[in-house]
């Protein structure tokens, strides 16, 4: 009880212990759900864009319930930038790889020469690779948009 009182006394205006604890518990599940939405996009509603937005929303939620510094402990600005670049690169790289292996640009069935999964199997698997790239890019851009806009550019105080 005393510990609770001490922790409550430390909170700034607008922060609540109940909300913070709930968000702490919820965030891993939100991120897990985002991953599920990305990788299960073949069989259910979902895909890279939607899953990426869910993943990005988890960081936005952390930044809202705590402050921005805490949210950036989960995902630093540098790692976020790297993930965004990697996401865009996965998509364009897959497309370029198709052209290198003798097919058309973005024709995934050409990748059959690299790993034999069959042309139709590669068209299914190529979509999966591309969706992961889209998801990474969308996640990093969503988080970056909120962080930069919310803190007026200095990435420190936040909302």
């Amino acid at each position: 009880m005393k510990l609770l009182q001490e922790r409550t006394a430390k909170l700034r205006v607008g922060e609540s212990l109940i909300i913070q604890t709930a968000v702490r518990i919820m965030v891993p599940f939100i991120q897990l759900f985002g991953l599920y939405v990305i990788v299960h996009g073949h069989y259910s509603p979902g895909g890279g864009f939607q899953g990426g937005v869910v993943l990005g929303a988890s960081f936005v939620l952390l930044a809202l319930a705590f402050d921005q510094k805490f949210s950036m402990k989960y995902m630093s600005e540098k790692a976020n930038g790297v993930l965004g670049n990697v996401g865009a690169l996965i998509y364009t790289g897959t497309a370029a790889l198709c052209a290198i292996f003798g097919g058309l640009f973005l024709d995934y069935s050409a990748l059959d020469k690299l790993i034999p999964l069959g042309p139709v199997g590669w068209r299914s698997f190529g979509i999966f690779i591309v969706e992961v790239g889209v998801g990474l890019a969308v996640m990093s851009i969503m988080a970056a948009l909120f962080w930069v806009l919310g803190s007026n550019g200095d990435m420190e105080e936040g909302l």
Binding site: G41, H42, Y43, S44, P45, G46, G47, G84, G87, A88, Y91, T92, A95, L106, Y108, V120, G121, R123, S124, G126, I127, V130, E131, G133, V134, A137, V138, S140, I141, A144, L145, V148, L149, N152, G153, D154, M155, E156
Partner: protein, 97 residues
Amino acid sequence: MKALALLTTLITGAILLYGTMDFPAFGDPQSPAAIHLSAYFIEEAVHETHVPNLVTAVLGDYRGYDTMFETVVIYCAGLAVVSVLRKKRSKTQENKS
């Protein structure tokens, strides 16, 4: 000024409503949007890509260019926001760290 804006809005809305006279009714299975390309996607997408979710199949395979440049667009948007707004740290904090 506000009256002019309202008038422009109302005239635009009236023109658009007049345009909807030629549009197909809501939920018409024989509407022009439903008989040309989408019939091919619905019939053949599962055979050609083995993806049951047609939206994902069309998004990732048939319209791959669209989605690729979509990703490039949001990437550029993120770059633009960061480069327009991002400030360097003030000097007092640089001294601290």
